[in-house]
Symmetry: C2
Subunit: 311 residues, 2 copies
């Protein structure tokens, strides 16, 4: 395999930071604590046929790889800084494939001002496996955790919910739709949402495993219960039935930020959103108890313990 | 897949640092710059049937995963600090397999005092793919690069060379030998070698792709030529022929440190090695020119451009 040539041709142009040390040393410099900000790190792996479809364009897969990681840090109230890439390539993976992957990844890293530092390029007898690790700097004192939700908090979500699930169905049946495009390249919250999280949230999470599963994660970690009103969720499409709402609420790949904020801050929060041209939707509240409770037309919906999506 | 159960049962016990945030938040805290040391990071991926054999015990695969990364930072004059793990598991991967993998990885991380921070656990339709990213703190002002070698430098190598190649052959044919054990779980240099690198080396690298290929990497990056005397290399076994020497010098998986030091420091270097109970072997020198030149019984050996091992 021409690993070294491919690194020179396609990775070097998107890894221009001095910290990458020219991709020549198996190691790279982590940016220091010069700003005094708390640094965090996340790592996500995408596997062909599990997290993306074998015929998805690799440019888009590269973008998705960046975004699933960026989503993880935005929702914690942090901005991404540096990244490390690992690619396990099947024998059928062509130079053109690699070029597209790097171009898509590089495009999103550039938009988000993330320095690619290096990583590893290996061969596999199986499907394409991509791992990205991303470091970030917290805007506040530290990352906002899942575990900080308190009874009385209000639950907010960014963007629209359900596009990942609707898009997977379309992409699988090769229907070209805006949902399918969203499945391939998720829309993720912008930097402004990271700022909102750091200033207002008691708890937060990104919706990668479905709205209900993530609400459950916050509830479990915080030892509270989240009550979600499905009629107020900003669905990706017009939802006429509980069945469809539950489908979209338990599908994966939304990558929006869900957070809980103290009710006492709600007015300041709304004003701040408006001032920054942002919007988030109020979808429920935090109460004492455990697990998650979901409502549709005012009625409590019985959920299976398994509601959610595990990759 | 019972991802969450497995995390609780097998990863939480080996990820006890507060920085891991209980493995609950998709992100973890990077240790800060409190010591003022330059921080570096590396990432290596091991693929089943490429970097380890399908019937290798997973405890040993976990140890190898740690060591191939630790080797990368030791050879740069740095000590490892924190780690992130990604596991892409085939459907056949059992809970017992995961337990063994975590136990082996955890054992080596503990020996090296590395905090596991978190990572990602996913499924795959292909072979097991493991990625570990490791951060480290430089003992000197920064990482020692491949590019610092100067004509007149002396080339040293730690430990023994060729065990990886000899061991792969044995492990493939199911011969149990110390070489096979070394292939599965490489012996890597200790912390003392990191200290030697940071204090004395102009250039350094770890031998993952074979002695000759790595000497070529230093030569190319430093715009010099390395002359290696194969008769002085500390081979893993007694070597009687040039053919065998070349086999061992072009096999992979040695994970020893090769470095070049200024001739003027050689005496102080030798004394320091002795004082710390360490040993390294003098195997050649740096001259003007390019590429690598290899000698056997005083004669220059003609090499193919491809001498080396690419994973």
């Amino acid at each position: 395999m021409a690993e070294f040539d491919w690194i020179d041709k396609y990775l070097s142009p998107i890894a221009t930071s001095p910290d990458a040390m020219g991709l020549r040393d198996d190691v790279a410099r982590l940016s220091g604590g010069e700003t005094g900000a708390t640094k965090i790190v996340t790592m996500d792996t995408l596997v062909e046929a599990i997290h993306f479809l074998p015929d998805d364009p690799l440019y888009k897969v590269g973008q998705k790889l960046a975004r699933v990681n960026i989503s993880d840090v935005i929702c914690k109230g942090a901005l991404p800084r540096q990244a490390l890439l690992s690619v396990a390539m099947p024998a059928s993976f062509t130079e053109e494939n690699f070029e597209s992957l790097c171009a898509g990844l590089g495009r999103d890293l550039e938009v988000w001002d993330i320095d690619l530092l290096g990583g590893d390029l290996v061969t596999t007898n199986g499907p394409l496996v991509l791992t990205l690790a991303v470091t970030a700097e917290c805007l506040g004192a530290g990352p906002i955790k899942r575990s900080g939700a308190k009874p009385g908090d209000i639950v907010y979500v960014s963007g629209v919910v359900g596009a990942g699930k609707a898009g997977l169905d379309d992409a699988r049946t090769r229907v070209e739709s805006s949902a399918a495009r969203h499945y391939r390249v998720p829309s993720i919250p912008g930097k402004g949402i990271a700022d909102m999280v750091s200033r207002f949230a008691n708890a937060s999470i990104d919706i990668s495993d479905g709205l209900i599963a993530e609400a459950r994660h916050i509830g479990k970690a915080s030892k509270v219960s989240l009550e979600i009103d499905l009629n107020t969720v900003p669905w990706f499409e017009t939802v006429y039935s509980l069945e469809r709402a539950l489908e979209l609420a338990t599908g994966g790949d939304d990558y929006q930020t869900m957070m809980t904020i103290p009710a006492s801050l709600e007015e300041a929060f709304s004003e701040s959103l408006k001032r920054h041209g942002l919007s988030m939707s109020r979808i429920g509240k935090v109460v004492e108890g455990q697990d998650v409770r979901v409502f549709w037309n005012g009625e409590n919906v019985l959920l299976s313990r398994e509601a959610g999506y595990q990759h």
